[in-house]
Each structure stands twice: as C-alpha cells, then as structure tokens.
Amino acid sequence: MTTTTYNEAAVCVPRAGTLYDVLELILDRGMVIDIFVRVSLVGIEILKIDARIVVASVDTYLRFAEVCNRLDLNQDASSRTVPDLFAGMAGGVARGGAKKAAKSVGGKVKDAIGMGDEDDDVEREDYDAPDEEEPEEAPRARRGSGSRSRTASASRAGSRAARRTQEA
C-alpha cells in the first residue's frame, strides 16, 4: 500500500485546466499591445513572492533533516519506509508524500487568491480580501486571519510557521 502511495506521488499526473499550473502563463505570457492598459495584479504578485519564501525556509530544512534523522542509513535502498515517515510527520511539506508536498505551496496561493477547486461562490469572500490590502500589508493581514482558513490544513499551518521563522 505504501508502495502505491509512493508511486502515485512521484509519477506525472497530467491535468488540463487546473488554473494554478498555468497562472503565470495567463498573467505573464500572451500578447501585449502597448496602447492597451492592464488591470491591476498587485495582490497576485505579492502572493507569488510570499510563496517563494516558504520554499527555501529554515522550517523546510528542519523537516528534511528530521526525515534524514529517521532514516536507517544502513537500510536497503529499496526500503518503503519513506512514505511512512512522511505520513507520520507533523509538518506540512512531507504530509502525504511528494504529490501533496508539491502542492502545499501552490495550495496556499490557491487558497489565498480563491483559486481552489471549490465552487466560485464559496470562496469569493476569501479571495476578495487579500488584494484589497496594501502590498506590504497583505501577507501580514492574511497570516492573522485564521477564521478565513476554512480549507486550512497542516501545510498552511506549516507555511505560517515557516514565515515566522523567516521573520525571526
């Protein structure tokens, strides 16, 4: 069973029409005509930068170190314990293996700008909020708004922790 999880986690799962995977193409590619004006994208820029900080954070490093420390270094290479280790961890990056780990950063962005897979109406109030903020205020404001995080998961909690670590 763990083998299945492991494989599913790592194998490419092609998807069409998921917005997050093509967000940067819709926003940064495509044709531009200089006499046209562009709607404001302030909130989205901030969220992209915010997400990047989390990827290479001390918090992430410590979680990787924990995985290493729990590995039996002498164990056979084909061991299947890695998914178990990940599944048992408290942090968000590792939970559920690579698939979810890879999504954890994206998930946060999706939650924040209301691009989850849930119905539009459900999330509308959520995503209108962040980009009302001044650029400098947006991440801070979102961090304090636990009540908005109905889709909150361990990964978001982990992200918040990571940001705290960064700021410390």
Binding site: A10, C12, E24, I33, G43, I49, L73
Partner: protein
C-alpha cells in the same frame, strides 16, 4: 457590447471565424463576447466589467474562452487583463500589426501549447542519501552530534540535493521532448519549480507528447516530479514586443531599453543538445 466604451480584449483571430452566440467572457454576470473585425483579422472583445481584477472566475473565463476557440482554429491569446480605451483603439492596434498577426496565426495553425513544470521530489530523501556521499556524511555527523545548526545544514543540503537532481532530470526531459516539439521557450520562473517550459506541439502530436512525458516521469520518479498541462492557448508563442525580452516583473525596464538580440521568432526547434530556450525573466 457597446463599442463606444472600454473593451476587454481576449485575443485575435482570423476575420472568418464565427462565435457561438452564447460565448461569454469575464465579469459577473459574464460579459457577452463578440468579434470586432479589422480587415482580415478580428479581435475577440467584450465590455469591461466594473472593478475588474485577476479573480479566479475571470482568469478561468479568459482561459476557457481561448482554449475553446483554439480547438477550432488558431488564436493569438492576449495576456490576461488587457483593456482598450475603445473600439477605435483596438482597430488601430490590430491594423498596425496586421502582417505580424497574420503570420503568427499561420504559424500557430493546428498547433497547441503544452506546459511542463518540473519539481524536486520531496519524498525522495532516501534516494538522495543513498546516492549522495556529501549528504550521507552530513547526516552521519548530525546523528553523532545533534545540533540545531547541524540540522539546518543537513536540511539545506537535502533541499539543494533534491533540487539539483530535479534540475538534471528536467534538463534531460527537455532534451528528449524538444524533439517532439516545434519550438520551446522557458516560461517565467515559478517558485518551487526547477523547470517551467512551454512546447509548441502540433495538435495531432499532443497525445504522443503526453505519453513521452509520462514515460519520462515514470522512469525518473526518484529524481523529478513532472506536471504537464495542455493543450493550452499558445500564450508563449505569440509575437512579443521588443522591450519585453529583458522584462523583469520586479524591476521593469523603462520603455525603449535595448532589446535582447535573441528573438523567439528565430527559435526554431532546438538541437537535442542545445534546446532553443531563452533565459526566463526572473522576478524579484
């Protein structure tokens, strides 16, 4: 759709295209989309909803409209959020670059964009430790003398090791896949991704391309996670304004800054050893 007011522009198509009357775009309720003919071309336009921003539903509306139209004929997709002052401004802009647009439509006919993102496999720590003597040594050190600093160093080495393996595998994937594509360009840098590349693929070859990606992903699942999205509107293969070559989101160049000598137009299918890619615009 009133023509005296501001218009949201979705893309440019041949003038002989027809739209289903139910075609809708951005806004709530979704605005009716129409064709604004300009010679041999036509712009896909709608009214601009008040307070338009990059909301999920509007991004989706933009994307879905262009995706749907792209299955029936070539479309030059605009970047999200382009608004023209009025119909006359659209006509001026389209007419001024008509030869370029027509050539681009010809080049994109029966072709589609496939976007590939490559990420480190975050659960592949064990494989990394097995294969990387440096990380193994750090792990052994930390085990002997546990410390916060040691853990940070070890974790950073793991993160970097995973990213390095993913980058190497992604470069291999790029060399393999470029043979199935007519063009390839690097997309904007995406946090957490070691590769973001778009391929221009003949529509008829789309499934073969997908199969090749799946095959590569399965063969290298300990090194890299691949995410393929497509068919997409050909966002990455439209004509570019010269000043965009050196574009950086965080420090926009002033208008008229020297353009890069490299031209995406000239980026024909790359050789297997040197895919024709341009450096991605690095944000912030």
């Amino acid at each position: 759709m009133s023509t005296g007011s501001r218009l949201y522009v979705y893309g440019i198509v041949h003038a002989d295209r027809t739209l289903p009357p139910s075609t809708r775009g951005v806004g709530r309720p979704p605005a009716r989309v129409g064709l604004l003919p300009v010679g041999a071309l036509a712009a896909l336009v709608s009214d601009v909803p008040p307070d338009l921003r990059a909301r999920r539903r509007d991004l989706m509306a933009h994307q879905e409209l262009l995706t749907a139209l792209g299955t029936e004929g070539p479309v030059l997709p605009m970047r999200f959020g382009m608004v023209a002052e009025d119909a006359a401004a659209v006509e001026r802009a389209v007419r001024a670059a008509a030869p370029t647009h027509l050539a681009a439509l010809g080049r994109l006919e029966s072709r589609t964009e496939m976007n590939l993102k490559a990420m480190p496999v975050q659960s592949a720590v064990e494989a990394l430790v097995r294969d990387d003597a440096g990380v193994r040594r750090l792990a052994a050190d930390v085990r002997r003398r546990p410390s916060y600093e040691g853990n940070v160093r070890l974790g950073q080495a793991v993160a970097e090791g995973l990213a390095r393996r993913a980058t190497e595998a992604a470069d291999e994937a790029l060399r393999t896949l470029v043979r199935l594509a007519e063009e390839v360009v690097r997309g904007p840098e995406v946090p957490g991704c070691v590769l973001n590349a778009s391929f221009l693929v003949p529509q008829a070859r789309g499934e073969r391309f997908r199969a090749a990606v799946e095959q590569f992903a399965a063969a290298h699942q300990e090194r890299v996670e691949l995410r393929l999205t497509g068919p997409l509107p050909c966002y990455s293969f439209v004509p570019r304004e010269p000043e965009e070559f050196e574009e950086s989101r965080s420090s926009p160049k002033p208008p008229g800054s020297p353009a890069s000598p490299a031209s995406e137009e000239g980026e024909a299918p790359g050789s297997p050893d040197g895919p024709a890619v341009r450096p991605s615009a690095v944000g912030s």
